[in-house]
């Protein structure tokens, strides 16, 4: 049995900082009103981020017990960062949740069974979908020609590689048209570790991150470009700290394709030959928008495309609602994830748009399913798909 000290979910180690941060909770409830998973707790307070902070404080002080129900609540969170965005006292709540989940895993009380399965898959095949490692490059199209050495590394990520290849395919096609040479590691690329960092499975995350850091070092690249919001967040926000703590080099610039396209358009390097007469609404992926503050670039791309009419959803930019898939929720709580996705699709339909566009293959997977289930009168597309269509 671990000692009381190690049982504290927000305990002394990392800890001091996050522990101080939760002490500042003002109990204002701002985090509760926008939380996409709170309504699934029957409307009761305990499922709110505010209550989870209160629980963590009480648990640390020995006034509350870790129970299976609290473990469940701590995992029922899509890491959407809506709570972080509105917090009265700037508590880095998602870091708090991740720290608590890691502690639960250390204590053998987490994660959820579906998350364990993902770990087994990634341990065996370097991706959480249990797809064959050697087929990681199957998204590549015949005209995609990586070079053995280049400054740019294309990091496809697991979802794009095995589930939703359109965005990475378009991205690489545009790179080629622009004459930007790139390397691609194929089966040597492993999961970025995002699903494992979000679900507290730090040991396996450690191995994956180490492997990708080795890869980047070996290839000697200066820039990583990716189409996935989750991968780019993780590579941008988690890798530098991980590498610093282990004395490993990590001097690369991480770029999401949204940033790259916006830059190319601004520099006049992408010209348009066709107009795309469509009314579209843009969904800000949580890990692209709130995590990386990439709100303007996708909109700038859409506005640059001739013929596009962009209409905003009621909740957009910093206030955007989640697609429901992040933080291991899609794997661990599929019904909840599906409902959150349907609610967001409904919000998109309310704008009168014909197309719901986004820039994350993970969001794309959720919405694709939701639109199909609902028989919804809206089409799904990637921003890049429209860009390519207009660029001819």
């Amino acid at each position: 049995m671990p000692s009381d000290e190690t049982r504290a979910l927000i305990s002394a180690e990392r800890a001091e900082e996050l522990s101080e941060a939760i002490d500042a909770c003002a109990r204002c409830g701002y985090c509760k009103t926008g939380c996409p998973t709170h309504p699934f707790g029957g409307g009761f307070e305990a499922a709110s981020p505010r209550a989870k902070v209160h629980f963590l404080k009480e648990q640390r002080e020995g006034a509350a017990e870790i129970t299976p129900e609290w473990v469940d609540r701590i995992f029922q969170c899509s890491s959407c960062e809506r709570c972080v965005e509105v917090c009265q006292t700037d508590i880095p709540l998602v870091e708090v949740w991740e720290e608590a989940r890691a502690a639960l895993v250390r204590l053998g009380l987490g994660p959820m069974p579906a998350h364990k399965k993902m770990r087994e898959f990634v341990e065996a095949r370097n991706n959480p979908y249990n797809e064959p490692t050697e087929q990681r490059a199957r998204w590549m199209q015949p005209h995609h020609q990586p070079t053995p050495r280049a400054e740019v590394l294309v990091f496809a990520g697991c979802t794009a590689s095995y589930r939703m290849p359109a965005m990475i395919q378009t991205g690489v096609t545009i790179l080629q048209r622009q004459g930007i040479p790139f390397v691609y590691a194929g089966a040597e690329e492993v999961c970025c570790a995002s699903p494992f960092l979000r679900t507290g499975q730090t040991a396996v995350a450690d191995r994956l991150m180490g492997s990708n850091v080795d890869l980047v070092e070996r290839l000697g690249v200066k820039r990583i470009v990716t189409a996935c919001a989750g991968c780019s967040k993780t590579l941008k926000k988690d890798y530098p700290g991980w590498a610093r703590a282990r004395g490993r080099p990590w001097g690369v610039e991480v770029v999401h394709f949204a940033e790259l396209y916006a830059r190319l358009i601004q520099e006049g390097r992408i010209g348009f030959t066709r107009s795309v007469q469509k009314k579209v609404t843009y969904h800000d992926p949580c890990h692209l928008g709130r995590s990386q503050r990439i709100f303007d670039e996708p909109r700038a791309i859409l506005r640059a495309i001739p013929g596009i009419e962009l209409v905003e959803m009621e909740n957009h930019r910093e206030e955007s609602r989640c697609c429901g898939a992040g933080g291991g929720v899609k794997a661990g709580y599929p019904a909840m994830a599906a409902q959150i996705a349907r609610d967001r699709v409904r919000e998109a339909i309310d704008t009168g748009a014909e197309v719901l566009v986004t820039m994350c293959p993970f969001c794309q997977t959720s919405f694709g399913q939701a639109i199909q289930d609902m028989g919804a009168p809206i089409r799904l597309a990637g921003v890049d798909e429209l860009l390519l269509e207009a660029a001819g």
């Binding site: 500042a24 109990r27 701002y30 509760k32 009761f44 700037d90």
Partner: protein, 484 residues
Amino acid sequence: MNEFRRELEAELGSAVTFDPQQTKAYDHDLGEMPSVLMAQIRPVPDAVLAARSPEQVASALRIAARHGVPVTPRGQASSGFGGAIPTRGGLLVDLTPMNAVLGIDPDAGTVDVQPGVVWNALSARLRHAQLDLCTCPTSAPASTVGGWFATGGVGIGSFRYGSIGEVVQEVDVAGLDGRIVTVRGPEMELHHQTCGTLGVVTALRLACRPALPLRSFAIQLEGADGVPALLREARERLDAYSIAFSSAAYLRMRAMAEEEKPAIDRGLLALVTVTEPPGSIPDLAGVLAVAAAVGGTVLPEEVARREWEDRFYPMRIKKLGPALLVGEFYVPAAAFAEACRRIESALSGDLVGIEATAVRGDRMAVLAYLVDPGAGLLFPLRMAKALLPMRIARRLGGSAYAPGLWLASETERCLGSEKFAAYRRKKVQMDPGGLLNPGKLQVTRPRWFPAASLSWAIGIGSTLAGPISRRIPSRRFPAPRPAR
């Protein structure tokens, strides 16, 4: 309790929980009280209803009454007066799931809502109908319409529109007999400020304002003496919508919390907000005239924009604590400067941050903040400092902001003698067994009501501890740096 449980579950199903892990999450509100005080009450409810309809509320009240079980209504528990904390366990009615906008009448300029609707969500809905809120608390991203009405408060827009009580036109109230009645006028007034001790509000009709854009101006005053003149000038020249004040000490705390430079290094910052008809140009001449009339300086637009954007974040300074001691009170505008002087002198060992809202009728609602480490044996003693500002204000014709639980002994002064007398009569008639939110507001002499004695004990204890507590400083701050 078993029979109560059986009946409640049979009637309300999964909307109700008796799970101790769930009910425990309702044992507190915004305020962090010392355990010695919390030990005097039974704050964990036995059951919680996550109410989704007026019918559910009415059924729950009827069942509770039949079994003699106390009922505590709760909105977002974003108030710190203890009003939403149970004192005798019982049934807690969580009204946040009842958050529908029932209907907007653009011609009458009114909206009907369920009590759990959150202010900012309501504002967003109203804007679709070219309407907006007359007034809202600065907790608008979370707090509920029903909760604010039941507390009675002032906030953004109160300079032009007054308190929430002046904006609500009628309410539906569920009583212990399980009936829901619609009340307005003097009858409705008895439900305003009285913490749900006469029934649970299940719907409200609110007056709205046309959704004209707002523009804020920041004016620096040398001190608080110029405030009454500023209010007069801003009303006459600008027909101002909202006026809020922040002392240099408060802005210094906030700047420290945000790791930035404070907007001013002395005096008082007045944020004057006006409505602007579309196409009109900002009345800069009017603002300059207001500033000149009070010897103030108009600050750069950027300062005003920043203050307005931060309006929902008054407690960011808690990051410095982690505890905050907050004294909250009303005072006539003419006595505001004197109140500030006396508070700062009484708490001269501390940095006291003052925030104030101007209210129609030349009143000020004031918050005096002390940042405190919140721990240690002396913390309960230091907490006595939070009551000092209210006592000073009382001597200057002011009162406590709201009675709730902890200040129940201030009920008569808060409501005024006439309303208090009418309220008492109604309470005896509606709730002779004292089941509706027991312990909140003081109805009779303390010996009959243990929780009322608690607020008396707090009053007496803090009076006695006052002289000592003032000598124990809260958080020490470094000397101020000059502003930009």
